[in-house]
Symmetry: C2
Subunit: 190 residues, 2 copies
Amino acid sequence: MKIYLAGPDVFLPDAVAIGKAKAEICTRYGLSGLYPLDNGLDLSDGEASLKIFRSNEAMMDAADAVIANLAPFRGPSADAGTVYELGYMAGRGKLCLGYCNDPAVYADRVRRLGDVVARDGRLVDAHGLTVEDFGLTDNLMMIHALDTHGCALVTPPRASADIWRDLTAFETCVRLVADRLGAASTSSRG
Amino acid sequence: MKIYLAGPDVFLPDAVAIGKAKAEICTRYGLSGLYPLDNGLDLSDGEASLKIFRSNEAMMDAADAVIANLAPFRGPSADAGTVYELGYMAGRGKLCLGYCNDPAVYADRVRRLGDVVARDGRLVDAHGLTVEDFGLTDNLMMIHALDTHGCALVTPPRASADIWRDLTAFETCVRLVADRLGAASTSSRG
């Protein structure tokens, strides 16, 4: 069983090492982790971005499930590329899982950017735009996509000391996928 | 033909009026616009967010195409819920279109948040995370999803005076959908 490993991990300086660590965890649970890295590509190629897209889409099409790293990225919500990929996999009917090492609810994440006030029965930000206030960590579409098309978002009780490198919640997702897909585990599961 | 109208427009104070204006443009081109509004729902209902999710997913499943408003939202990228929906529609094999009234490229959008510097042949942000630098307005997954599963992102040459309410690029998308889907237009097309 193949698992597409979506996340902004690819933007980290140690992206290769993190991908390797994630793939090794998958292997321990009898699963094959597909990690989208553009390292093999010449980024000065005028078609580099299109080639990366096609490579990622082909990997998603080949996978049975996705595990998305939904850590907040340059704002209160998850990385846009990761969110796109979660949507794509849900649309394709694949098993959808996700984790987030920052369990803060969305309204609190927006508060980090500036004022959030109550107006006309809704929370609004400094620009007067409604702030979702359902006690969820991110936009309801992703959170309930996981509930509906896979497993509920996995979060730690408190934010991880290293949001980007703590793979505890990720491993929980791998275990859930292995259980769901009935993969033969070669590990002793905790 | 039904078009799902995705976008953070639903978070604006005049969300209902904007949805009405968008639906009217669709009607002029012989199309039916489906606008996800939660107005009918009791937001204090403990299951409100799940009901909104299910309603939006049912609308997407019923639609032939999506037009996504990919304006930057609380950061350099588009609204996460909208991005999820674009991915879902691409995964379902629907026709995918999008527009953005801010044509700034992604690296410049990240520069609005803070320093972006070149390091080891890549652009990185203040946290050392790679900044995509392909001359695209947003993450390559969404931009090339449009190229691959519909039409290239529609942007104005310069940022609109009112990013949220200028429907010129939106109307271009509607016209493209009408042309692609062969809808009977009842308007004189510009």
